[in-house]
Symmetry: C2
Subunit: 321 residues, 2 copies
DNA sequence: TACTTGAGTGTATCAAGATTCGTCAATTGC
DNA sequence: GCAATTGACGAATCTTGATACACTCAAGTA
């Protein structure tokens, strides 16, 4: 019985022999009448095909003390702190944060909820990358983009895919905002919204959010984004700063105390407003790294966040300063 | 308290570097100023401490055809078939079945439910071994033992631990039956039940089962069990067989068509009755291997099961015969 | 104080698994 | 119908990770 027709079945079989039963590759090879090399390749393929998953669980309450302190200090309902391998490697931090967030999300009951998602956030993007598919599908579960497209076309494509994939994994329906995130004028903004039925539907859903995975950003233009086009210009960022902005939550600017900074910039953005964020327990932020510290602190002070997933260094600074 | 979390933190860090970031052990060692050997050992420890988990997912619908056929034939709501590595190795089959069941259970919504558990079942025991802890704790979730102690004292200890651990992993409260599973007379049985408050509570909960993980057994005394004491004697099994029994569900005998065999044996058992099994959708059986074939078929024919997790060979026989 | 014990670590070595390379068969293109 | 290409495979080889052994250090014990 050498050639099992179905390759996936064969991979599963080998994977189970290797991982579950702990049989050595050579023995598996001998047992199935194939070479050790092939067993090795099959195992790689199984991993590739996500038949085999290795996850590193973040033990509960590993940083219990600091997490509790943060909860108390900022009135948060949940805090998760992950150890950053290298505090300077922001990409690495985002990956770790995303992974942690994936574990937390997968333990949550999201079925039937309306979930706001921020597809341009790098940490949320890596969340999607590590999320495991859930079996429970529910059409009532809605994944709503909370901001229109930002950045260059390539990034927009990634964003769409990210939202789609997130919806697939959670088992819900995605609602896209098919419009730029930042327009040149309030009039164009209105026109864009009325233009597309999908977008209108998504915008409407923003009033009914149960959970929001917000993006916290600085008042500058980070790497993959570009000024102008469907994003704020350098001048607009400068203007926000001159009004006291130290960061933004889905492009809504806040000052160091977390107080919203109202300006005409607000009327240029197609996306969730701070007032639309879910009332309590559903405001998630996955953000860390040195550059975002000011913004995160402001978001916490304004109580725009009640579940924070961040790195050790940021957590410590949030307690110290 | 911080004393014991320190090594765990280090293990987690190393595990993340290795598995999530894919860094080689030597590089990790160089990075952290330790030897490669220590990295290797830390990773082993992390695996031991369940910080690292590797699971082999059963791809959905790998055996779609046979599963659907079985569903249709016996009116089952769910069927999962796993490939047995060696049809003769019943211990191995049980491990595989348990692993599969763990994956299926973890995808289910069990919070707040009353779940009947059969702690002496080997496949359910291995289910517990591979189940991943769920984050959602709920005191409303109850794990009820569906049968008193059977077998030698050593086995009883394992059973208790198994139930306890299952409850921990699911995030619920365990209700134990602290009494023998089989008594010498109906009078002694009554006395045992009235004796212990915990046991009474568990027995009462058996009327409110939402989900039952039943054990399907043969009409003989399998390896770890011993006749007499708190288990049926050889004579009692013979008597059941002479009445037409081909198997039993939690020690309630059924004939080849699945029809319950009523006898005075019923009044000797402290455990769930067939009538107490949840109405629909909640009757799980994890059973396979050649020896149990007759019993499984009988249980299916009597519609005592609506979700079956079994091995390929049993599945095929169930369709053929 | 001196001795014993045991856990934890690094070095050197060995085994296990990944990779390279040549072969062969199936498929594609001309 | 015949190269050419692609992909799968196994044997040999190389790399990576596991382990045996020796050493250190701390804590207990005579």
């Amino acid at each position: 019985m050498a050639a099992d027709s179905e390759p996936r079945r064969f991979m599963t079989k080998v994977a189970r022999m290797y991982y579950t039963h702990g049989i050595r590759q050579i023995e598996i090879a001998a047992n199935l009448g194939i070479s050790q090399a092939r067993v090795s390749r099959l195992l790689q393929a199984a991993e590739q095909a996500k038949i085999v998953r290795t996850i590193v669980v973040i033990p509960e309450g590993l940083h219990a003390e600091i997490e509790e302190d943060l909860q108390g200090r900022y009135g948060l309902s949940q805090v998760h702190v992950v150890e950053a391998l290298d505090p300077n490697d922001e990409a690495g931090i985002n990956r770790d944060l995303g992974e942690a967030a994936a574990l937390i999300l997968s333990a949550m009951q999201l079925s039937g909820k309306t979930i706001g998602f921020t597809s341009w956030s790098r940490s949320l993007r890596s969340l999607v990358a590590t999320l495991e598919p859930s079996k429970k599908k529910s059409d009532a579960t809605r994944i709503v983009e909370m901001l229109g497209d930002v950045g260059p076309p390539q990034l927009q494509h990634d964003s769409t895919r990210s939202t789609q994939r997130f919806a697939d994994l959670i088992g819900g329906t995605p609602l896209f905002i098919r419009a730029p995130g930042v327009l040149s004028s309030a009039e164009v903004r209105e026109a864009m919204i009325s233009y597309d039925a999908h977008t209108r539907e998504a915008i409407a859903a923003l009033d009914e959010l149960d959970v929001a995975l917000v993006g916290i950003g600085t008042c500058s233009i980070d790497a993959p984004l570009e000024p102008g086009g469907n994003f704020f210009t350098v001048e607009q960022f400068e203007m926000a700063k001159s009004l006291g902005a130290v960061g933004q939550i889905n492009l809504r600017f806040i000052d160091a105390e977390g107080i919203p900074i109202e300006s005409e910039l607000d009327s240029l953005v197609i996306g969730v407003t701070l007032a639309q964020l879910p009332a309590k327990g559903g405001r998630f932020a996955v953000a860390g790294g040195r550059s975002k510290y000011e913004a995160v602190r402001a978001a916490l002070r304004g109580h725009w966040i009640d579940t924070l997933i961040t790195d050790m260094e940021t957590a410590e600074r949030l307690l110290r300063e």
